[in-house]
């Protein structure tokens, strides 16, 4: 068989074997599931109670010192952002179904139990801090925007229009929590559509509401296990699945699990790179010596 045909077949065969049998998950290092800290706090948003008054949007801006969004893109109203952005950490969106049903949807950071953004941030500018809040430290941030690409909810936003940009996202008003307060959006809500408290209390409350009024609610608490669980839980009206409200279907596996288990498997304790390096060093040395001594490689 000519060398090329051999190498072709070798190439295909090894590829097929690798793809078919080498389930990368088998090579992945086991990664224990993260649990929320004992003092984890969160939000519970009940879309059936929300009246869309947008007081939470107004108060969030006030509490966080955010400027009005005067962009008016495509003829929009003054200070009526169409999505989270560099000036808007919390927003109320409206779902209008074809059957005429409507629902409001409060959108802000989900404060995931196992956040993708904190997993990918090179030097932990985004990190999971006290109370399980996913916090941002602009002092460390280099503005690489990996967190933006990684977040499945598209939450972190960026200050594109300035030479000194930061990442902008809800941090559960931790500056107010530190002083014993509650997040501004919760304080503003006239209907207690969004409430604040310990995560487990909120989880039990949410499940209790579904149990008591099953005809009113969609039978699931979003964030209970989605993407490994989030500290912001959602309840939707019966007949309006969470996908319609813009919440992605993440399954129960934490978002960073695949990446981290694969890379840990390779880089665990840096063993593999060091081993490979040693082998390479040896091989290179041998080859170099051989070539030095005139035994040049000839096919």
């Amino acid at each position: 068989m000519s060398p090329t045909r051999r190498s072709v077949l070798k190439g295909i065969a090894s590829a097929a074997t690798l793809a078919a049998t080498g389930d990368p998950n088998a090579f992945a290092a086991p990664r224990p599931r993260k649990t929320p800290p004992a003092d984890a706090v969160g939000l519970l948003y009940d879309a059936t109670r929300c009246i869309g008054c947008q007081a939470c949007v107004v108060k969030c801006k006030e509490a966080n010192g955010l400027p009005p969004d005067t962009g008016t893109p495509r003829g929009a109203m003054y200070d009526a952002p169409d999505d989270l952005n560099a000036k808007t950490k919390n927003i109320i969106k409206l779902y209008k179904g074809e059957d005429g049903r409507t629902s409001f949807m409060k959108t802000q950071c989900m404060h995931c139990v196992d956040p993708a953004c904190a997993s990918v941030c090179m030097i932990s500018a985004l990190y999971k801090g006290p109370r399980g809040i996913v916090a941002y430290d602009p002092g460390k941030c280099v503005g690489c925007r990996y967190c933006q690409t990684a977040c499945p909810f598209n939450v972190p936003k960026y200050e594109w229009e300035t030479a000194f940009p930061k990442i902008v996202k809800c941090e559960l008003c931790r500056h107010l929590l530190d002083k014993g307060g509650i997040p501004a959006c919760v304080a503003a809500c006239p209907r207690e559509a969004v409430i604040f408290g310990g995560l487990e209390t909120l989880r039990a409350d949410a499940k209790g509401r579904i149990a008591r009024e099953p005809k009113r609610y969609f039978p699931k608490v979003y964030g209970d296990t989605d993407g490994g669980g989030t500290q912001v839980l959602y309840l939707s009206a019966a007949g309006i699945p969470f996908g319609k409200l813009g919440l992605p279907d993440l399954g129960d596996d934490p978002v960073p699990e695949l990446t981290e288990s694969l890379t840990h498997a390779v880089y665990q304790g840096f063993i593999a790179p060091v081993a490979l390096y040693s082998i390479l060093g040896f091989v290179v040395y041998r080859s170099w010596r051989r070539q030095r001594l005139g035994k040049g490689g000839e096919e």
Binding site: C53, K59, M77, K93, L94, K96, F104, R191, G246
Partner: protein, 388 residues
């Protein structure tokens, strides 16, 4: 009727009482506007009124506080109250009658006999039904009997006030007298057959705006028809929309500016009273458009107190004053961002430049390949020669 002739007929008699023609027409205009009739009907209403077409009105009182009668009389211009009484022929009214006792009763029955099937029966107050209705008796007769006898012979029945419309205060829990509204009473199994399809107009409110009554009555007097009614018998010209939909404080609601406690900064600024328990979002009434006493701002929200939903059976005297309610028929404006907003497009110029660049690169590559392919012949010859 030529110019000047009016003086000798109805207008003349009004002027004799010190009522100017202008004030009279103005009242008719307000009433027409209130009922939603176009401007050109004002003349017809005025003519019908002065031409002696004042419909006879019998006004019955049951379990009530007389507030609904009072609302008719509480006007900023005293002359208007006279006008109201002159636009309709109020042939029986216990509070306003000079007569009393047997004389009053005889007058009542005379009017009923003379105008059977033609008079308007206005009922004010709830009808107690427990224990055979003994909890309200007028001239020795129970309210239930009176309502049946006089109501069923009327041309039209108007239940004025929340008490007559659905039971009002007397029907508040635990409702010891079995009080109920006029429509509910007259439409029950026993009485319905006698109703013969007569419409019962409900004008709930505690009290309702006087122009609700005036508009309804004027339309009946002028055209013989009743205004369009909703499923609860309420004229849609007054009760189709909620307070919330036309509230002057709505911009504050939309902007999230609320009064938190009476007397606070927000209260001083006139912010939305939703959080103090305003029932406006679920209360159907025209108060936010047409206030009381012909004075702008003379209504609860206008003076800084939340609406308590006096027209609604589910709210008034049932839901605590400061409990917040859901919005009826919420129609979120399109100014809310959609779940997935459109974040803008792409510059065609950039696409053009990119296309040109890529095209140029491909072209250069193809050319280079062709050139090298041509020199392939030379290379092969040389290496063949060397090999030999």
């Amino acid at each position: 009727m030529g110019p000047g002739e009016g003086r000798r007929t109805g207008f003349g008699s009004l002027e004799a009482r010190g009522v100017s023609r202008r004030e009279f027409l103005r009242t008719c205009a307000i009433a027409a506007a209130a009922v939603g009739l176009p401007g050109w009907t004002v003349g017809e209403i005025a003519e019908a009124a002065v031409a002696g077409g004042r419909p006879p009105v019998i006004w019955l009182h049951f379990q009530e506080c007389t507030g609904c009668s009072e609302t008719l009389l509480r006007a900023s211009h005293p002359a208007v109250s006279d006008l109201i009484l002159d636009l309709i022929s109020l042939d029986y009214h216990e509070t306003l009658f000079a007569a009393a006792g047997k004389q009053a009763e005889e007058a009542l029955h005379a009017v009923v006999r003379k105008n059977t099937g033609k008079y308007i029966c206005v009922m004010e107050g709830a009808i107690p039904t427990r224990d055979n209705g003994i909890y309200c008796k007028v001239a020795g007769r129970t309210a239930t009997d009176l309502a049946k006898e006089i109501g069923l012979k009327a041309g039209a029945i108007i239940a004025i006030g929340s008490c007559a419309a659905w039971g009002g205060i007397p029907s508040a829990d635990p409702n010891p007298t079995g009080a109920m509204g006029v429509p509910q009473f007259l439409k029950n199994a026993d009485n319905a057959p006698y109703l013969k399809g007569k419409a019962i107009v409900s004008l709930p409110g505690c009290p309702p705006n006087p122009y609700n009554l005036l508009g309804t009555v004027l339309q009946y007097a002028t055209y013989g028809t009743l205004p369009a009614l909703d499923s609860l018998g309420r004229p849609t010209f007054a009760y189709a929309r909620t307070i919330h939909e036309d509230c002057p404080r709505r911009p504050h609601f939309d902007a999230g500016r609320f009064v938190e406690r009476f007397g606070d900064e927000g209260h001083r600024h006139g912010y939305c009273l939703y959080k103090t328990g305003c029932k406006g979002p679920r209360t159907h009434a025209p108060c936010s458009l047409q206030q009381f006493g012909e004075v702008v701002g003379a209504w609860p929200v206008g003076i800084g107190h939340p609406c308590f939903g006096c027209t609604e059976q589910a709210l008034a005297f049932r839901v605590p004053l400061h409990t917040t309610v859901e919005i009826d028929r919420p129609t979120p404006p399109d100014t809310y961002p959609p779940i997935h907003a459109d974040h803008g497009g792409v510059s065609t110029a950039a696409v053009g430049v990119a296309g040109l660049t890529v095209g140029a690169l491909i072209g250069a590559g193809a050319m280079a390949a062709k050139k090298l392919g041509a020199s392939k012949g030379e290379g092969k010859e040389e290496s063949d020669k060397e090999a030999k």
